[in-house]
């Protein structure tokens, strides 16, 4: 069994703060972490490897040299091989260019050792686009299952798997051929505390570094800014939330206050809500 996991190093957005004076992001001291969904993807790959009795887990990332740290954490978690795709020429990539680079890398990895399954986290917490996984599956022309929460069956001999996927109505149970690409929710596999020998192995591990030209060339037209149809027109911090009106029951009376509250509830336009769970009738 050969699984490839694509991961991303992201700033821990739960710790991003806005400087109230300048209105800019305070990046100082914001730790870089493995995208939280991706570490579950790695765990899922490692557990699958254990389940089928062996194989290889290859983890890849596109990013700056510092992203090697994130790969090492995946090696601790049980990945066997780690590849950092890093080159200034890849900079400024949007989801289309990123999916090209990852798909091309996976093709090369597949040529060395055929790949049976590819894992992505369901989305990265810095961009939240959830588009790179679907893009890679499309480029590789293999089945895509997003929001996967469990792998019920995985049959290498029959080249098929049964995967559970979260949708609005509940859990969809899908049968797919292999190879398949999954983007995963955290439920796919709880992250285990990595064994100490793995930490020691990772501390001594050097990830491979691939550039835009070596060991394989990437199409310069499809990478980085050049390969990205979208550009950021402007970026700004949302205006800090300011309070609206404050009214009091004592001054206006209960009826008037409730009427104002109802108008505000109306403003949230929640009437056309789809229920979070349950049947859409």
């Amino acid at each position: 069994m050969h699984a490839v996991v694509a991961i991303k190093q992201v700033p821990d957005t739960s710790n991003v703060r806005i400087d109230p004076e300048t209105g800019t992001l305070i990046r100082e001291g914001v730790p870089a972490i493995v995208n939280p969904y991706d570490i579950h993807a790695v765990e899922a790959a490692v557990q699958l490897k254990e389940r089928v009795g062996g194989g290889q887990v290859t983890v890849i990332t596109m990013g700056p040299p510092k992203a090697a740290e994130a790969l090492l954490e995946c090696v601790e978690q049980g990945a066997d091989r780690a590849i950092l795709i890093s080159d200034r020429k890849f900079g400024g990539a949007d989801t289309l260019a990123t999916s090209y680079v990852l798909a091309r890398a996976i093709e090369v990895i597949n040529a060395e050792l055929p790949v049976d399954i590819i894992f992505f986290g369901k989305q990265a917490i810095d961009g939240d686009t959830a588009q790179v996984g679907p893009g890679v599956a499309t480029r590789l022309n293999i089945p895509l299952i997003t929001y996967a929460v469990a792998i019920e069956e995985f049959d290498l001999a029959a080249r098929r798997a049964v995967v559970h996927r979260r949708v609005e109505q509940g859990i969809e149970v899908l049968e797919t051929t292999l190879p398949v690409l999954l983007t995963v929710e955290k439920e796919i596999a709880p992250v285990r505390h990595a064994p100490l020998p793995r930490l020691i192995a990772a501390a001594r591990y050097q990830p491979e570094v691939w550039t835009a030209t070596s060991p394989v060339p990437f199409d310069p037209q499809q990478i980085g800014l050049k390969g990205s149809p979208t550009v950021v027109g402007k970026a700004y911090t949302p205006a800090p939330r300011s309070g609206g009106e404050v009214i009091s029951v004592a001054a206006l009376g209960l009826d008037a206050v409730v009427a104002r509250a109802m108008a505000v509830i109306e403003q949230a336009h929640i009437r056309n809500l789809q229920p979070v769970t349950g049947v859409v009738s």
Partner: protein, 342 residues
């Protein structure tokens, strides 16, 4: 091919239906497309409706503003799967070359949009909250939150067409349907066979999920001011009436009135509901970082100096035991039951 007048700027909206039920975001997008159309001279608003035996949904699309509906009907489209949908819609896009293509950022839409954009080789801005036409060059300015909502980015796609965007449900207003509106139905042939689809749906488990306040659209949260676990029954009643969930600030969880999974704030969860009702919550920074991303905040507190009022859309100084029962009566009268009202 019948790619008539490719110069007409077409604004397309993907009509998402499952089990013959259209997701409301599709209508919201038609409303948005209408507004964009006003800023894009000569443009038309059209809808794409794939599925099996769904042609009868087309009139609804006309009512919400589409002048034409492309119906792609095939049994392989009965249940949504990525491949047949991506192939069918991509072919249509290649044929008609729309200027703009909008898709709801739902589970289905997010699964589909990236595949279409990759097949067509164009740019996609995911999960937008705002759309407009840049008046200078008539291109789509799609704005989306990033870095966990701490930064807004306006994304442009200058040279590739269509300009694709997925848009979050319920961030755009629901347009009023025009009852007698009509339009043209274009039946698009699509002849993929079931044996060409590598993914089969074996079953659907319709299960109630574990309560997770992070996904809730309406949250009624209580703080120390609620006074005790009994008060949360009242908050639960309001939450039920609004189709939402109950949450709490740290002191409440510390006191054991509510489970830790319901805690909002720095050491709890970060929520981003449409409506956040804060009852008896003073609003320490610790709590505010967890909920200030809510669209609308209604705060009820007896203390007029409570910091929560600094960020509330509407602050009510008063006794929550007086205000909330009155709210419950009003809300129940207007049936905010969390179900779709179409």
């Amino acid at each position: 091919m019948n790619a008539e007048q490719p110069t007409i700027p077409r604004i397309w909206v993907f009509v998402e239906q499952q089990e013959h039920q259209v997701h409301p975001v599709s209508w919201e997008l038609l409303g948005a497309a209408k507004r964009l159309s006003a800023d894009l001279p000569g443009s038309v608003v059209e809808a794409v409706l794939p599925g099996h035996q769904v042609a009868d949904l087309a009139p609804q699309a006309f009512q919400y503003g589409a002048s034409r509906v492309y119906v792609i009907d095939n049994p392989v489209l009965e249940i949504y799967r990525n491949l047949p949908y991506a192939v069918a819609v991509s072919r249509l896009v290649t044929e008609y070359r729309p200027e703009i293509f909008l898709i709801g950022a739902t589970t289905l839409g997010r699964d589909l949009a990236g595949s279409i954009a990759t097949r067509v080789g164009t740019g996609l801005t995911a999960d937008c909250t705002e759309l407009s036409i840049d008046p200078a060059n008539h291109i789509l300015a799609a704005t989306r939150p990033t870095f966990g909502g701490n930064l807004m980015a306006t994304i442009l796609c200058r040279r590739h067409r269509p300009q694709m965007a997925t848009v979050r449900p319920r961030v755009l207003p629901m347009p009023e349907p025009v009852p007698d509106a009509t339009g043209e139905v274009v039946n698009v042939p699509f002849n993929m066979r079931e044996e060409d689809v590598p993914v089969k749906r074996l079953r659907l488990i319709r299960a109630k999920e574990q309560p997770n306040i992070e996904y809730a659209d309406v949250i009624v949260a209580g703080g120390r001011g609620v006074g005790g676990p009994e008060g949360f029954a009242l908050l639960q009643e309001l939450a039920d009436a609004l189709g939402g969930m109950v949450a709490a600030s740290r002191p409440v969880v510390d006191a054991g009135w509510l489970d830790a999974s319901r805690q909002v704030g720095q050491t709890g969860k970060t929520v981003r509901p449409k409506l956040y009702i804060a009852a008896g919550i003073s609003g320490a920074v610790q709590h505010r970082v967890g909920m200030s991303g809510a669209d609308v905040i209604l705060a009820i507190n007896t203390d007029p100096n409570a910091p929560i009022f600094q960020i509330a859309t509407l602050g009510i100084v008063g006794d929550l035991y007086e205000v909330i029962p009155a709210l419950i009566r009003q809300v129940k009268g207007q049936s905010y039951d969390g179900q779709a009202h179409l």
